[in-house]
């Protein structure tokens, strides 16, 4: 028989739900409601407003004035679709680069002595001790025309004319990969660290050469870490605003920049809200469902 939960236990279970309700669902509903409104030269800059004083008539008028116009707009103007594709492209390649760089780092750390592992993991986390924005400004400095990177490349005679870094996709990739690396290394390290050494020995014992053991045993068994790291990087990278804004060009903005422009540049809150909702609906929701399914599968097997 399951014993009845005490008040405190019930509370403990409900706090996360309450948190999600207050800080995720309510703001989302507000954004959703704005996305169904029309821009207006007013404060706040959209209509209709909810007028309780008008009674029942006010409520029906409010709902009657809501429309899907903004979604039609972002569906018909290729600007939005392009920036969506651009965001997915940048986030996907960034995630790939992060995996290629982060996996060997995480794997290498697990191969060292236990005491050194703690030191190395601290080093991976160390950049967090300085403000994110300062680090991105530092990259602007490094990547500028006469910055340290170009000076180094010139000094080593790798290039003869200094290449342009800033305002390119390359700079955005550098910024994202640099900033998100700890988020990739951490879950990978957690998975690889748990990997049973005797499984690798068993594979070798059964005739599997070293190089093949990685592909046949290590990599499949670290799949949950790869998935967790990839999602942890991909989802925020899609909506990234600061890095493309400071390091990237303005020709093909990422979705975060598009939202920012609509919101602050065009003062079109409803269109900005519609883009945000569309982003959640098209990208985040399928990923969350997929992750949920995968995690359940991992738990079962």
């Amino acid at each position: 028989m399951i014993p009845k939960r005490t008040f405190v236990e019930k509370l403990a279970v409900r706090i996360p739900y309450a948190w999600l309700l207050v800080f995720f669902l309510v703001p989302f509903l507000i954004v959703l409601r704005i996305s169904l409104s029309q821009p207006a030269l007013a404060q706040p800059p959209y209509a209709p407003l909810f007028n309780l004083l008008a009674g029942w008539h006010g409520i029906t008028a409010f709902f009657g004035a809501l429309s899907l116009d903004n979604y039609v707009l972002i569906g018909s103007d290729p600007l939005y679709l392009l920036s969506f594709v651009k965001s997915v492209e940048i986030a996907a390649f960034s995630t790939l680069f992060l995996l290629i760089i982060g996996y060997p780092i995480a794997y290498g750390i697990t191969r060292t002595q236990h005491r050194i592992q703690a030191v190395l993991m601290t080093l991976v986390m160390l950049p967090f001790w300085t403000a994110f924005l300062i680090r991105i400004y530092a990259w602007m400095n490094i990547l500028q025309h006469d910055g340290p990177l170009n000076q180094l490349l010139m000094a080593l005679h790798i290039v003869n004319t200094p290449p342009v870094w800033l305002a390119t996709d390359t700079a955005v990739y550098i910024g994202i990969v640099y900033s998100y690396l700890p988020f990739m290394v951490l879950p990978l390290y957690a998975t690889l660290e748990k990997l049973d050494e005797s499984l690798l020995e068993a594979a070798a014992d059964l005739g599997c050469p070293r190089s093949k053991i990685f592909w046949e045993v290590t990599l499949p068994l670290s799949a949950p870490g790869v998935l967790a790291g990839a999602l942890l990087c991909f989802i925020p990278a899609v909506g990234e605003f600061v890095i493309p804004d400071l390091l990237g060009g303005s020709r093909a903005p990422m979705i975060g920049q598009t939202i920012w422009t609509e919101f602050f540049g065009n003062k079109d809150w409803p269109a900005a809200a519609a883009v945000a909702v569309a982003l959640i609906g098209l990208l985040v929701t399928p990923i969350v469902i997929f992750q949920h399914q995968t995690m359940r599968a991992v738990e079962r097997g």
Binding site: E201, L206, L221, G301
Partner: protein, 376 residues
């Protein structure tokens, strides 16, 4: 098809013309400051079931890992069929290991686990499927091929691990504490299955265990290991009946030890806690040398009255402990000088209670033939 051999006549180690399958020559392996394996030499023969028995930390698992190739010896050689294995990496050695924790691949099902080793050999798909099916049938897991390791019981996982190693048809199968993770009933049953399998396949098994009854039952020979070297290598019955040292006598089974000096006639030991004790054969030590007589508890007799004749190898004491085990009763007798002697008496009749009670005076005795003379 290898013929089923008789256990008793199997003794290639006694035949000087026989070449060992696996030869371990003066092998040492140190970890940090201490030697896990210390100048150890051992020959193991084709078709033998060899047990490495020793307390934990004696180096037996290290020796197994040296044979498998997971560790490299600091000195000495390991030869298989006369070929030095030093340059052969683990994945090329015709030796397979069954790991203590089984080390089954959690992401692969039973079939894929068993097929893993064959795939590395690059065999044809049909051949692999055929051999995997045969092996699963042999370990009675035909209907479990699609299951993942975590969906199996401990005993089933053990069989998968065994099948996965055996399907490679290794020259030598190494088993690291193969039954340690099973519960007692299953362990007893699996021991015999392991023996049957080994005889049926005619393979060479080297098993590491700390469980002496396991080693006794399964092995053709036992190597008793302590601090990185082999104290004795012999058949199970010889280890038990003719241990070569007090350490082995004490480690394998229970034993009563009587310390004394060899008498003038060479047939008696004087000055033991039980007085002068007689032995059946002439002692291979000078009169006056210190020796120990080892007597197994089941070879001890206990009586509530002094035996009439012969009066030799007999001492009086007080019963301080009685342990009733069902098939046996264990008596602990304190002799005059405080030494404790243990006797195990078979309960052949259906007595209402023990014939001797606590704190009563009793006599222990043993036949001169029952004593083992130990000089170290």
């Amino acid at each position: 098809m290898p013929t089923v051999r008789s256990k008793r006549s199997f003794a290639p180690w006694a035949d000087s013309t026989e070449r060992p399958l696996l030869r371990i020559e003066d092998v040492s392996k140190r970890f940090g400051g201490s030697a896990a394996v210390d100048k150890l030499s051992l020959d193991i023969y084709q078709g033998e079931f060899f047990a490495l028995l020793g307390p934990s930390g004696c180096g037996k698992t290290t020796l197994l890992r040296l044979i498998a190739g997971f560790e490299q010896p600091d000195s000495g050689r390991i030869l298989l069929d006369g070929v030095d294995l030093a340059a052969v990496p683990p994945y090329r050695r015709p030796v397979n290991m069954m790991f203590q924790n089984y080390a089954l691949f959690p992401h692969l099902n039973v079939e894929a686990n068993v097929a893993f080793g064959l795939k590395q050999e690059g065999l044809a798909k049909a051949e692999i499927a055929h051999r995997v099916a045969d092996m699963l049938a042999m370990v009675k897991l035909e209907s479990f091929g699609r299951r993942k390791p975590h969906e199996l019981s401990g005993g089933q996982r053990q069989r998968v691990a065994l099948a996965r190693a055996l399907v490679k048809r290794p020259r030598v199968l190494l088993l690291d504490e193969p039954l340690a993770a099973l519960d007692k009933k299953l362990r007893d049953q699996t021991r015999f299955e392991l023996m049957d399998l080994q005889r049926k396949l005619g393979l060479t098994f080297v098993v590491v265990t700390h469980d002496q009854s396991e080693a006794m039952i399964v092995a053709d020979r036992i190597g008793v290991m302590d601090h990185g070297w082999l104290r004795q290598v012999a058949r199970p019955a010889d280890i038990y009946e003719q241990p070569n040292s007090r350490w082995v006598a004490d480690f394998v089974g229970d034993v009563n030890l009587f310390e004394g000096v060899v008498g003038e006639d060479g047939l008696s030991v004087e000055g033991t806690p039980a007085g002068t004790l007689r032995v059946a054969a002439k002692i291979d030590a000078k009169p006056g040398a210190t020796v120990w007589l080892a007597v197994r508890p089941e070879k001890m007799r206990v009586a509530s009255e002094a035996p009439q004749s012969p009066p030799e190898n007999c001492a009086a004491g007080t019963i301080v402990d009685i342990g009733y085990l069902g098939e046996l009763t264990i008596y602990k007798l304190r002799l005059a000088d405080g030494a404790i002697v243990t006797a195990a008496v078979a309960n052949t009749g259906r007595a209402a209670g023990p014939p001797i009670d606590w704190d009563e005076r009793a006599w222990m005795s043993f036949a001169p033939e029952a004593a083992i003379v130990l000089t170290i």
